[in-house]
Assembly symmetry: C2
């Protein structure tokens, strides 16, 4: 079934407490020189073909449901 | 700064309550024919170059910290 991925990440200017916690845990576990930001990945399965209309619908879903666009940005990826 | 992405998704045979909730909400909002699985996206910034050693370290971090490998699978993506 065709699949479209929507990546949602905290905006660069927004604090990312989850990512901060993961980065701190990495350092405590001995992983050096890694810094992490954490976001969400939505894999959207589409009934039928990925037409421009379907993509526009997914874009709208990302805007209204997947991402909180005040603090997060999203990216719709097809391949 | 060089960046490596780690995608973490619930394994196919595992129930995905978050994805189910999002799929249900999409239908209630009038989006038809979309089914969603929800996972996590970690953007790892690396101090210095992405050497095979650094990649092995990130692979280990994914295994031990980013993913719960009992119920989730992960995928390390460089580009």
């Amino acid at each position: 079934m065709p699949r479209v991925v929507v990546n949602v990440m905290p905006k660069p200017e927004i604090l990312d407490p989850q990512g901060k916690a993961v980065t701190g845990a990495l350092q405590r576990l001995g992983f050096q020189g890694l810094s992490v930001r954490q976001g969400k990945r939505f894999e959207v399965e589409v009934d039928g073909d990925v037409t421009p209309e379907v993509l526009a619908q997914i874009e709208r879903a990302a805007e209204t449901l997947f991402a909180n666009t005040v603090i997060e940005s999203y990216d719709v990826v097809t391949n």
